[in-house]
């Protein structure tokens, strides 16, 4: 039962342009959302997060938008750089009986930024 979905397995963007990665979730009890970046042979690296009480959070080139009514969030990277090429995972947390140590991940989106 995939509670967090990333429907685009890959995204290709030119350097300097905007990258938009999308994520949908089904569990309305989730109250915290995170984005991780993963390079090959490394563990996921925390990028940015957002609480369900907000609809936007920004950190440098990275902005996450949350639309609770649509159960949708997106990560915007502006401007995109070749070093951003990696797999991006959306994750969610919270809910009835949930532990703070449990994250639910999507399958990831491979972002390729070309010069």
């Amino acid at each position: 039962d995939q509670q967090v979905k990333q429907n685009s397995p890959s995204l290709s963007v030119q350097e300097g342009r905007i990258s938009i990665l999308n994520c949908d979730y089904t569990n309305s009890m989730f109250d915290y959302f995170l984005w991780y970046k993963k390079y090959p042979a490394e563990g996921p690296t925390f990028l940015i997060s957002i609480s369900s009480i907000k609809d936007k959070n920004e950190d440098g080139r990275f902005t996450v938008f949350l639309n609770k009514s649509a159960k949708h969030l997106s990560l915007h990277i502006v401007p995109s750089q070749p070093g951003d090429s990696a797999v991006y995972f959306c994750a969610a947390a919270g809910g009835r009986g949930s532990t703070l140590g449990r994250l639910y991940f999507g399958r990831g989106t491979q972002l390729t930024v070309w010069p």
Partner: protein, 114 residues
């Protein structure tokens, strides 16, 4: 400060064998979680431990077990290995005292079962 460390980096085992994976959290982090990432999927939660007690368990069979030591390091044990256990096993730590959900991952152990 050192991040989360895991050992070994790679491991090859035969079906039916047992394996032990090790994790050391970031200094000051008292909570450790284990995840399994199969190729093409996102990480799947296996366990969370805090203060040597299991605080959460994912949908994994009893062949999977774990423990946490007084220094907050942790071991993941898998018995009677199956081919389907081949995966990247990730350990993550977090600062339990906060309400934050952010977890910090180690590089993982790549387990191959033949």
């Amino acid at each position: 400060d050192a991040g989360v460390t895991q050992s070994p980096t790679h491991l090859i085992k035969t079906r039916g064998q047992h394996v032990t994976l090790r994790c050391s959290p970031i200094s000051g982090h008292k909570s450790v979680s284990w995840y399994q990432q199969v190729l093409g999927q996102g990480p799947q939660f296996i366990f969370q431990y805090y203060e040597k007690e299991e605080r959460g368990r994912g949908n994994f069979p009893d062949r999977f077990s774990a423990r946490q030591f007084p220094n907050y390091s942790s071991e993941l044990n898998v018995n009677a290995l199956l081919l389907g256990d081949s995966a990247l096993y990730l350990c993550a730590s977090r600062l339990q005292e906060t309400r934050s959900y952010e977890q910090y991952f180690g590089p993982g152990t790549r387990l191959t079962v033949t």
